[in-house]
Symmetry: C2
Subunit: 494 residues, 2 copies
């Protein structure tokens, strides 16, 4: 974004006559700024998306961070990288920016993340997740690249909103802080540690967590909590080498068959998890959350049509209701080879990766243990390290389980006083917002609240159909333009 103008005049605007300032509201300023710069802004966003941002490539992750520090400085913010010295530079740093306002009554922190999910280039239409392209979808332009929707859009919207406010000489009222993480898609393993090491810098009256997609109606959405997430990788064992399926089929146990039988028993035909105690402990929704849910749009038919789904799980419950329950999902399963590379073999192992979404009241370890107990109850010997030959020989069925730390769920009361101001600011930009008690995806809200001594409200801007976490991730450009208005209204709020 080298062509972005320098904010030299930014802190001079307080000297302008009040009458002039009143002419333009923050969202109007953003709207005017964007309206004449679609192609320039698209080009700047492409530059940002061209820097690869996956955990497997730390050098490029660091390039993203350095790039963002420079962008913040160009806009007059104090900016630098934050880490915990105890980590010795081993994890991607936070990008930190601050714009102080001497008269401010409160501090608002904008969280987003600059890292993206792993990529499998061969699955992308272009084969190149970091060579952004713009394509028309249903007559509207979208930009395709890893990170386009999740979550570089939010960062770019905040930077551009700053530029727009500066261009319109609109003064900020609150202290504004930016905390952009580089390890979100890797489970935010060190976020809390880094925040704790920099508590005074990252504290705020509220953290606005700018991540995830808006409602399928494309209306601006505010979310007051998020599901947690915990993962399990399960590997089961057949013969210690691949065997000819003709010479040994019927006799050598097939680990793919073992695994499908193990996983199949975890859910009923409606997608309801039948692992004992799986739903125990769920903290019930309060009256205000239930009211918000009842007022939220029901987009299930629209989505079923869009996704070509002949049925959905969960019986008669709506998607938004189901997001308030824990879930069990097979992220991936593999054994042997499929398609043209399939061979007549009995594979030696079969592996599945599960994610367990959590709600308030169910801790990551608790839910992982319920699944592990279930696997043991199916006759499996459980090992937390690759099994030895002796373990394989002495147990009919062996499962090697790898569990991550997980992330607990979190919930902020919708009637928190500062929430009213946030809602008012956004509605001045975007009209009536949708309030939801629970974000289906996982954001480390719990860690943020503890470490930064704050509360969180989630402000997504991406389109729901952005192929987040998958190949061909994209952002509908109108979501970016709208998001810049949303961010301008929040950056300028009292």
């Amino acid at each position: 974004m080298p062509s972005m103008r320098k904010p030299a005049l930014m802190f001079a605007v307080v000297a302008l006559p009040i009458a002039l300032l009143a002419q333009t509201t923050p969202p109007q300023a953003a709207h005017n700024y964007v309206a004449t710069r679609h192609s320039e802004l698209t080009q700047q966003f492409e530059e940002f998306l061209s820097i690869p941002n996956v955990a497997a490539d730390p050098a490029n992750l660091r390039k993203n961070a350095d790039f963002l520090v420079a962008q913040l400085k160009q806009r007059g913010a104090e900016a630098r990288l934050l880490t915990d010295p105890a980590l010795h530079g081993s994890v991607p740093p936070l990008v930190y920016g601050e714009i102080k306002n001497p008269g401010a009554k409160r501090t608002i922190v904008f969280y987003a993340h600059y890292d993206g999910q792993p990529v499998t280039p061969s699955e992308w239409e272009t084969g190149k997740p970091f060579a952004p392209i713009v394509k028309q979808v249903d007559g509207e332009p979208r930009i395709y690249a890893r990170g386009a929707g999740d979550d570089k859009a939010a960062i770019f919207a905040q930077l551009t909103a700053l530029s727009a406010l500066q261009a319109a000489h609109i003064p900020l009222k609150a202290n504004i802080r930016f905390v952009w993480e580089g390890e979100e898609e890797a489970g935010s393993a060190h976020l809390e540690q880094i925040l704790m090491a920099n508590r005074d810098l990252v504290h705020g009256d509220v953290w606005l967590v700018c991540d995830g997609p808006v409602d399928q109606t494309r209306r601006q959405t505010l979310i007051f909590g998020a599901r947690g997430d915990a993962h399990l990788q399960i590997t089961v064992y057949g013969p210690n080498r691949s065997l000819h399926s003709g010479h040994y089929g019927n006799w050598a146990p097939n680990p793919a068959m073992m695994l499908v039988q193990l996983l199949a028993g975890m859910k009923d035909a409606n997608g309801h998890v039948v692992i004992p105690h799986f739903y125990d402990g769920i903290a019930p929704l309060g009256a205000i959350e239930k009211k918000a849910l009842a007022e939220a749009p029901v987009n299930d038919d629209l989505l079923r049509n869009e996704l070509a789904l002949g049925h959905t799980d969960g019986g008669n419950k709506h998607l938004l209701e189901l997001l308030n329950e824990p879930s069990l999902n097979i992220n991936g399963i593999s054994s042997g080879q499929t398609g043209a590379r399939s061979t007549n073999s009995i594979p030696p192992t079969a592996t599945a990766n599960l994610d367990l979404r959590l709600v308030v009241g169910i801790a990551p370890k608790t839910q992982q243990q319920r699944v592990i107990d279930y696997i043991r109850a199916q006759g499996y010997f459980i090992t937390l390290a690759p099994p030895t030959r002796d373990e394989l020989l002495t147990h009919a069925k062996v499962a090697y389980i790898q569990a991550d730390e997980g992330e607990p769920a979190s919930r902020t009361p919708i009637d928190l006083p500062i929430a009213a101001d946030v809602i008012r600011a956004i509605e001045s930009a975007r009209g009536k917002v949708i309030l939801l008690p629970t974000f289906g995806g996982t954001v480390p809200l719990d860690a943020m609240e503890r470490a930064a001594n704050t509360r969180t409200i989630t402000v997504p801007i991406a389109n729901h159909d952005d192929n987040q976490h998958a190949a061909n991730e994209n952002l509908r450009l109108q979501n970016l333009w709208d998001g810049i208005e949303t961010m301008a209204s929040l950056i300028a709020m009292p």
Copy 2:
């Protein structure tokens, strides 16, 4: 193998005194020839293994064929490529060789195949399936490369046996023919057609099908039939694009979960197939087959230990008994990504490749249809083409099935007159042989018998632990040296 000597004197040996000829038996000639040439022969075999032989690489498959024609000619055989002109060169040709003997009372045909299973180089220890290396395993040398055991070993043993007989001036008695296929691992789709187009050339009193592994005791084995095989590729559908498992988990059906539930119901905990009628129609073994089975070594405990298996399927039945039953095996299953590349997604599809081994009495189409009927009975809409959007929207569960033509099972009576001569010849070389009614793997015996108007007996030489069809395929070199003696005894038989 450029260093192999030219067989210039081959047809002159009839002039040598009978007394001299009687001094050396064919297996002795082979033994003497091999004993002084281990490293030379290993080098020649490596040269053959270096020519890639997978279906995806037709140019190199053809190189194998041309190479073999030259090798046959060097040994004085009439040799050429056989095909059906109607195929217009679109499939790998048969390599054909013939050594006529004017006084011969019968014609013996040696079948083997020069193509190999597909390779996934990253799974190989060397990363290079066509760069053969020799490694010591349990103090014995083995050669590693695709095709080492399956089935270039047999071809190389036949060529070397010819050289050995020639070197010892041992005359042949029967007419000898070689038919080496290039499409066996692709299901021998055109073998019958090419044989039918060349019926007179390929006919023989017996086809000796030189493929597969010997018994786990490493004793020479003769097999009088083979299981058939039929394949199904099953793909089931979730959303039409990968979805974030947080935002849609619980609601969007997960195709991996659908597939595991579908497959899990196909077998019980003992590996017994519970698809209705799966075992209907099996032709029972006769008294002579039962006797052979009863006399065959029971290697189950040895194998369980070797393969680190804590249990085996099939209840109390031995491996050799179970090979006389049909089987259902998952060759591969895949959906989303596992391991480090796993993402928090609901994948759009899940795919499994099944192979169904068949026995006499159950035709390929019959068995495939039983599985398809089962899938339909689980509520699936079956399509034989990729499903349309409309089909996906109007059916709760859709399965796209790809079925191959399959290969029927075959059985030759153990008491066939020519079988006695074959057994006698081999026992002169290798001592007491093991007779088995059914080869677990699949060889297109049925097509051979029909097209070449012959009967088949299978003469394997490879070690059972050769990683056939998998990564790190190998041949125990002692099996090659023994195999050369076996082949010499058969090539010189009356």
